[in-house]
Amino acid sequence: MVRKISIDPITRLEGHGKIEIFLDDKGNVKQAYFQVPELRGFEVFSLGRAAEEMPRITPKICGVCPTAHHMAATKTLDNLYRVEPTETAKKIRELMYNAFMFEDHTLHFFFLGGPDFVVGPDAPAGDRNILGVIDKVGLDIGKQVIGIRKKMRDIITTIGGRVIHPVCGLPGGVSKKITEEERLEMLQVGKDGVEFAQFALKIFDDIVLSNDEYVKLITGHIYQHNTYYMGMVDKDNKVNFYDGDIRVVDPDGKEFAKFKPEDYRDHIAEHVEPWSYMKFPFLKKVGWKGFVDGKNSGVFRVAPIARLNVSDGMATPLAQKQYERMFKVLGGKPSHHTLAYHWARLVEVLYAAERIVELASDETITSDDIMNIPTNTPVEGVGIVEAPRGTLIHHYNTDKRGVLTQTNLIVATVNNAAAICMSVSKAAENLIKNGKVTDGVLNMVEMAFRAYDPCLACATHSLPGQMPLIVTIRDDKGAPIEVLRRDR
């Protein structure tokens, strides 16, 4: 006989994410902290293994962005073995990577972040999901989302071997070529993707932008932070997810730094707080001034709106038009509006689809020349990609046999960690005055961090399979005044 149990995700499960809001002695918000469970010992786990295993090991860190880790690890191996991938291999990798970005962003908009807007921020929590979107937009939308997602995942499977944990990346290239038939299929999927992305942007237009209240919410001060931004750009300073230099702009939008991935340590340092295992990356040359924005604070942001802020535009024509329109509506570049992440994400979806079309239109992508054999002795390598949730950095040191002696990973959500705390704080500040907690604080706080699409999935495998949201509001002595929970 097996015992049947009930599960209460809050009281019985350890290790969930939580938000702690501390008030001062007047009952106003002093600081909010966004905490996630600590995962321990990745470095110890990886040391002593062959660096070549990393593209297969690191995707297992988390089931949400395996392709991003696979690609960052593969690029780190290129750098470690000082081998330039062949042009064909670069195109194949980038094509797969854009399919991944498309799929991941689409999932976020329709399943997670979008429902806040499409169904409405005041709608009951139980309705703010994809099923609520379907009820509002119409049955066909569900079919379209599921359909395009499947096609994009088929591209990842064709190139990567497996969709969950791809295995195609090797130092200097990829393991398998693309056939002409596959190229034509991918080209069609890219075209379907362009159509879908335009349709998604139209939904955003019809439902969000035509609603003055939503526009006010997006451009209002509650969700605004004037920070630095970081993201990858190509040689023309246009957004690129797969390869390029890292560009940083200041809160006025002026270029502050531009560097090669291997120089990241000259620009990014990590601040440690006693209350969190999570480190808070900041710009070394500006310095850590606390959880504050402005030009004197080294806090920077990554991911969609950051990438668009650091770039001079999009490399594809339709996305470029949307980019121009977005900044026009938002009041210029850079945009400091946190909720604009959702909009920027959709512009990136369109870019990803257009880029797939470009890459798949290039007949040379089916060439047999997919691999340059590495011949150099490895020492140290750094690889960076733009993951859906922002800049993802892998850094390995090895002995001369290629056995790992040191590893450092700065994952995308961590790059946004300080900003997420600040956004949560600010949203709470506006709704908690003199010890009085206004209704709706949970919704507003939730919207603040959800815009960043924070990925904490590494810790959510054990049932119930995802983390509930718990917000604890504490007085100036640290005693809880109110606990808000979203789990049912």
Partner: protein
């Protein structure tokens, strides 16, 4: 669809996060003992799980749970309705399982009529390791057999 068997055993977990892997490990054990059984392992939740289930009449999920109320390695069953109650909103970067299942029913092919969820009580799912903690490790073989006895009278 297709030539799939009528029942799928689906192990869920992170293969390199200590006890989190127990669902995958038990599923692999079952496959070794009973090669004819359809098995699948997954390291994620939401839609990906639903993708795996398409075409089956029945799915047996094996996962981990951390209640702190049972000895590590204890085999527990979580009724579907309990799971729905516990996670009826998607909070972070994935779709909750009941919502994903509903989407699957509406838009994918055939979805299983019956889903049973087993969960093994665990201790550590925050340390990177490809081995489970000792009590959980020791329970893998017996839990694999137990599940097969209950489900298939094997």
């Amino acid at each position: 669809m297709n030539a799939k068997g009528s029942t799928l055993i689906l192990g869920i977990g992170n293969p390199i996060l200590s006890d989190d892997a127990v669902g995958i490990r038990i599923t692999e054990e079952i496959k070794e003992l009973y090669p004819d059984v359809d098995t699948e392992v997954a390291s994620t939740s939401g839609m990906e799980l639903v993708d795996c289930m398409e075409g089956y009449d029945r799915v047996i999920i094996i996962d981990s749970v951390k209640t702190g109320e049972h000895p590590p390695g204890t085999l527990l069953e979580i009724p579907m309705e309990e799971l729905s109650k516990a996670v009826n909103i998607s909070t972070f970067h994935n779709l909750n399982f009941p919502t994903a299942l509903e989407l699957g029913k509406r838009y994918l092919g055939k979805m299983p009529e019956k889903i049973t969820i087993y969960a093994i009580e665990i201790t550590d799912n925050v340390t990177f390791s490809d081995e489970c903690t000792s009590e959980v490790e020791d329970s893998i073989k017996s839990n694999a057999k137990k599940i097969m006895e209950i489900e298939f009278h094997a």
